[in-house]
Amino acid sequence: MLKQLWKDKFARIALIVLGTIYLALFFADFIAPYTKDFSDRTMAYVPPSKIFTIDENGKFSKPYTYNYKREFDDADLKIIYTLDRSQKHYIKFFAKGQPYKFLGLIPMERHLMTTDNDGRLFLLGTDINGRDVFSRLLFGGRISMTIGFLALFVLFPIGLLYGGIAGYFGGKTDMIMMRFAEAVMSIPSFYLLIILASILPSGMTSVQRFMLIVVILALIGWAGFARVVRGMVLSVKNQEYVQAAKSIGASRLRIIVKHILPQTTSFVIVAMTLSVPSYILSESGLSFLGLGIQQPDASWGNMLKEAQEYTNIIYRPWLLTPGFLIFVAVLAFNLIGDTIRDVLDPKSKVR
């Protein structure tokens, strides 16, 4: 299937984009010039560093940057940032910077690009706490881009089993189980999401919170999935191979899990790719409201929280970058999903 995906122009671009994003997130510690917890309080809301490759004499030079100076402009009553041209800070590649643990295990110091100790390299500016937006984008992406998949891994077994049991047993069991699933679907999902997120106790570690948000996302998605699985089970449960299994004396659970559910594999693959973007969007929406991933941890949603203020979005547009990344990621997932649908179902004409 990957081969067929690769043949499609759009899907190929989408795969490359997603591949690049995930690769960058995997090596986030190395690519990011700063660690997750780095903050320079004197450098709040600094615009992106300007990188020069031609020096003041008009000659090519190694890339360098200037630090920003924060000054208060008495006339306009606002803070302005000017380049401190007194000292050049050369950009160093693969040089030693802040120590970190690669993937939380291997202690390392080298970064893809960094500058000398007094210099500051803020490729996409800083936020209110003087934290590097570019570095946080990478660390936040780790959360935003994996949370959807994790939720799917929680939700799929539940939905499969639930839909499988309801469809196979039929009758009263089916009716009761499906009424319950329908009721869950009848609550507007985002309302349910914010309510579930808001009852999380506040004193949790960030890992616990992350896991619980995964669970919440799964709690919301399983019902719709279970309903579709049930429909598919209904259509295969009277086929001969199921009757054969029955006559051998296989238990009902075994028939459901071993014989019926595997029939739904291709559907599961499609449903998975198609629903990843919606979980990315849900998580970012939740964090945007301040109910998802909490500071100081980064996620693309909670980084955008700062973009809610007018002054921020007008004078500090670099704070909007997480939004563009969410957009690109979701677009890529959607394109791949469309293509997979086309590949699996030759009659479908999504594109």
Binding site: F180, P188, S198, Q308, I313, L320, L331
Partner: protein, 325 residues
């Protein structure tokens, strides 16, 4: 007559649904470690008597099943309790629900009158540059996060000053005459409607296009063509009728999606709707308000689905046949 019976049956089906919904939401909220009266207790303007009445009404000293029973009873009577500010929940909801309904109805209406024709055009001109351009545009429309789009539009509004930001009415709304009021609300609605419209338009256009393409492949359309009917007649008289039906089923889901999308959009634009109400209630852990707005959201959704189903019976005679009930 048959239709009426079916509709009645369908309405009766929503009752157990509503009961389960209320049970689910009640237990979720009660299982949380939040004290439902904490805010009320802290608010000095709320009298002891109100507090007492609330404890009584909610039956907080009794087991949870009894609490649910009490809650359900007063809910049916239309008594939804008071918010943490001491206001009546029902007045608050009455104020907010029409706003959300206004927003979503406009959006659905616009999305249908634009999305369906665009979907038809896309299907008719399948694989032409026009279709491809539209597909790219709808992909973009589907991928852009609603709150991010809302924020971008806010920048636009602030920079140009063309549209008011926030709220539904201007501060001098009460002094306006009818037409000025109308214009004022319309101006405030432009931005939130644009956000939600983009989202639902993209989905609707794709759905319409897909449906029509499927139908155009079917034998009876081929037959109609072979018979020598004009392409116009084939599409509008034969194909379209079947292609629209799934869209009507989707109407209910669309409504659900809109309610969710509206919550974030309302939040960004400070629009006084149900979504923002529930969000504020959640942040203040105002239990009565959360519970009531959750129920209202569910009721609106169920009603949306009901209307979609009834519409479907009217357009699709096959369902009346009985086996689909």
């Amino acid at each position: 007559m048959q239709i009426l019976i079916y509709i009645l049956k369908r309405i009766l089906q929503t009752i157990p649904l509503l009961i389960i919904v209320s049970l689910i939401s009640f237990f979720i909220i009660r299982l949380s470690p939040v004290d439902p009266l904490a805010e009320l207790r802290l608010n000095p303007s709320v009298s002891k008597e109100t507090l007492q009445a609330e404890t009584q009404r909610l039956g907080l000293d009794k087991p949870i099943i009894v609490q649910y029973g009490k809650w359900a009873k007063s809910f049916l009577k239309g008594d939804l309790g008071v918010t943490s500010n001491g206001e009546k929940v029902s007045t608050k909801l009455k104020e907010r629900i029409p706003n959300t309904l206004l927003l979503t109805t406009i959006v659905i209406f616009l999305a249908w009158i634009v999305g369906v024709p665009l979907g038809i055009l896309s299907a008719v001109y399948w694989k032409t540059p026009f279709d491809r351009a539209l597909t790219v545009l709808t992909s973009i429309g589907m991928a852009i996060p609603s709150f991010f789009f809302a924020v971008l539009l806010l920048i636009f509004a602030v920079k140009t000053g063309w549209f008011p930001v926030g709220g539904l009415t201007s501060s001098n709304f009460l002094e306006m005459n009818f037409w000025q009021k109308f214009g004022d609300i319309a101006r405030h609605l432009v931005l939130p409607v644009t956000v939600l419209f983009t989202l639902s338009l993209a989905g609707l256009q794709r759905q319409m296009r897909g449906n029509l393409l499927d139908v155009l492949d079917s034998d009876y359309v081929k037959f109609a063509r072979a018979k020598g009917l004009s392409e116009f007649k084939v599409i509008f008289k034969h194909a379209l009728r079947n292609a629209v039906n799934p869209l009507i089923t989707l109407l209910g889901f669309e409504f659900a999606g809109l309610l969710s999308g509206a919550a974030l959009t309302e939040y960004v634009f400070q629009y006084p709707g149900l979504g923002r109400l529930i969000l504020e209630a959640v942040l203040k852990s105002d239990i009565n308000l959360v519970m009531a707005s959750l129920m209202m959201g569910a009721v609106m959704l169920i009603l949306g689905n009901l209307i979609a189903d009834i519409l479907l019976i009217m357009t699709d005679p096959r369902i009346r046949g009985g086996q689909a009930c």
